[in-house]
């Protein structure tokens, strides 16, 4: 066990995880949040009723969520190649990671947005708000604590998924644990990566809860 080799190796893997999870999280929030909002407002009792669209979106989200990640990873390879030009490496892994997390986060966001008191929406309508103003000034700020918790949950999921990214050469901490720790019996490496992952996941959970509590003025 030569730590002078392992420390750079591990930090490189950690950076890969950070990169994959970070960019995927960003994409997930940017695309999943509007999807969640759409799911809420196109609903039967929503601000912009569109039952057909609502059902289609709901079906797509459910389909994507029912797909095991390891399968999704392989199925979307052609799409990945089309988007990033290659189907292997950390950047390529971002595509399936985001595709898996977007529908998940959309549902989490939907739930949070639905929890906003209907009375608030009604008061805003009575004041003459447009639908867009209601989304931006009522629904999103009021749901912010749940959205933050949802983002933390999404990041934790993405870290879990990213361990499988090794399949398409994405690298990262999970990949190190599997390749060295499991396949080559480097128990120490396994332990270190697992501890690192646990610490990071715990940290994100705690941070998310703290932040959610801080922005919640209820």
């Amino acid at each position: 066990m030569d730590w002078s080799v392992w420390i750079p190796n591990l930090s490189h893997a950690a950076l890969e995880t950070l990169y994959m999870v970070g960019v995927s999280t960003l994409l997930t929030v940017v695309l999943g949040l509007p999807l969640g909002v759409l799911l809420v407002i196109t609903d039967r009792n929503g601000l912009k009723r569109a039952p057909a669209l609502n059902q289609v979106l709901g079906a797509v989200v459910n389909f994507a969520r029912s797909l095991p990640f390891i399968i999704l990873l392989v199925v979307v390879i052609p799409f990945t190649r089309f988007v990033v030009g290659t189907s292997i490496g950390s950047t390529a892994a971002i595509v399936p990671l985001s595709l898996a997390a977007i529908p998940f986060f959309a549902r989490v966001a939907e739930t949070g947005l639905r929890e906003v008191d209907r009375g608030l929406v009604e008061a805003a309508q009575a004041m003459g708000c447009t639908t867009w103003q209601i989304i931006r000034k009522v629904l999103l700020p009021e749901a912010l604590p749940s959205l933050i918790l949802g983002i933390a949950l999404t990041i934790i999921n993405l870290i879990g998924y990213s361990a499988m990214a090794g399949v398409i050469g994405g690298g990262g901490l999970g990949d190190v644990a599997v390749r060295y720790g499991y396949q080559r019996f480097e128990t120490a490496v396994m332990v270190v990566t697992v501890v690192l992952l646990v610490v990071v996941v715990q940290g994100i959970q705690i941070l998310g809860s703290k932040l959610a509590l801080k922005v919640s003025k209820r």
């Binding site: 008191d117 009375g119 608030l120 009604e122 008061a123 805003a124 309508q125 009575a126 004041m127 003459g128 708000c129 447009t130 103003q133 000034k137 009522v138 700020p141 009021e142 912010l144 922005v215 919640s216 003025k217 209820r218």
Partner: protein
Amino acid sequence: MIQISGLSKVFNQSRQTVWALDHVSLHVAPGEIFGVVGPSGAGKSTLIRCVNLLERPTAGEVIVNGQLLTSLPEADLRRARQQIGMIFQHFNLLSSRTVAGNVAFPLEITGYDKRYRQERVEELLDLVGLTEKAHAYPAQLSGGQKQRVGIARALATEPRVLLSDEATSALDPQTTSSILSLLKDLNRRLGLTILLITHEMEVVKQICDHVAILNDGRIVEEGAVHDLIVDPDSRLSQAFFPRGEEVIHTPGTTSAAVTFVGKAADRPVLASLVRRFDIDVNILGGSIQVIGGRRIGRLQIELSGTQVPQALTYLRETGLRVEVK
């Protein structure tokens, strides 16, 4: 100021259709406080929600500030709503905004600049007596304080009309009283027209000029509070002066309900009655209430003796309402 004509609202539930409002018409004059009372399920909330079209009426017209709201396209309707304030039973304040932020909300929607908003918020918080709570969050306020914020928010864009949906129903009697005084004060000072719905007779008693009683989606009684209250047959006066159980009628006597209004309530009318005429008076029951700032009393009496008809005429001549049974 508010003209409602032939308003109907039908809800189609799974198997039955509910006529929440059945051809309701009413007129709220400028500067008036108009109360709509009625039992639970009468359609009160539906009625007030139809006034700013939160609920689309099935039939009928709503005119507010001279605008036929029921025919406005959506963008114009939004602009019209900015000129109609509304307060709610559960306040409906944004928990993520401070008191000042909540009051500023309608001003942001209307597009006022930041400097004006700040000035106006200060003014409004002063108006409702919450200046020192400007930076508190709704969760840190009492119910009464929350409703004051609701009122400040509703008045931010200087509407001429305020709609109030059970605004005091979640408050204790003392707080209710202070909110009602505030509303009355705003009504007087700003000439604000208020349409309020309530199931509390107390509210009608304290601040309403005009009242409509809604039952099963229909208006069953409507009029000026002081006219209805002196009419012993009106539902309103019966609500304030319940007849109670029928008193056993003593043979050979005449029983009468006497309503005292204003100054008459302070004069010792009965004493002089007994002195002037050859009669006996037996008081069976009665009460005095202050309604709309006026003292109104109702006495249930029994008269016997030789001069009963003269005595009754005398009572009527002194300006009292006398109902003989």
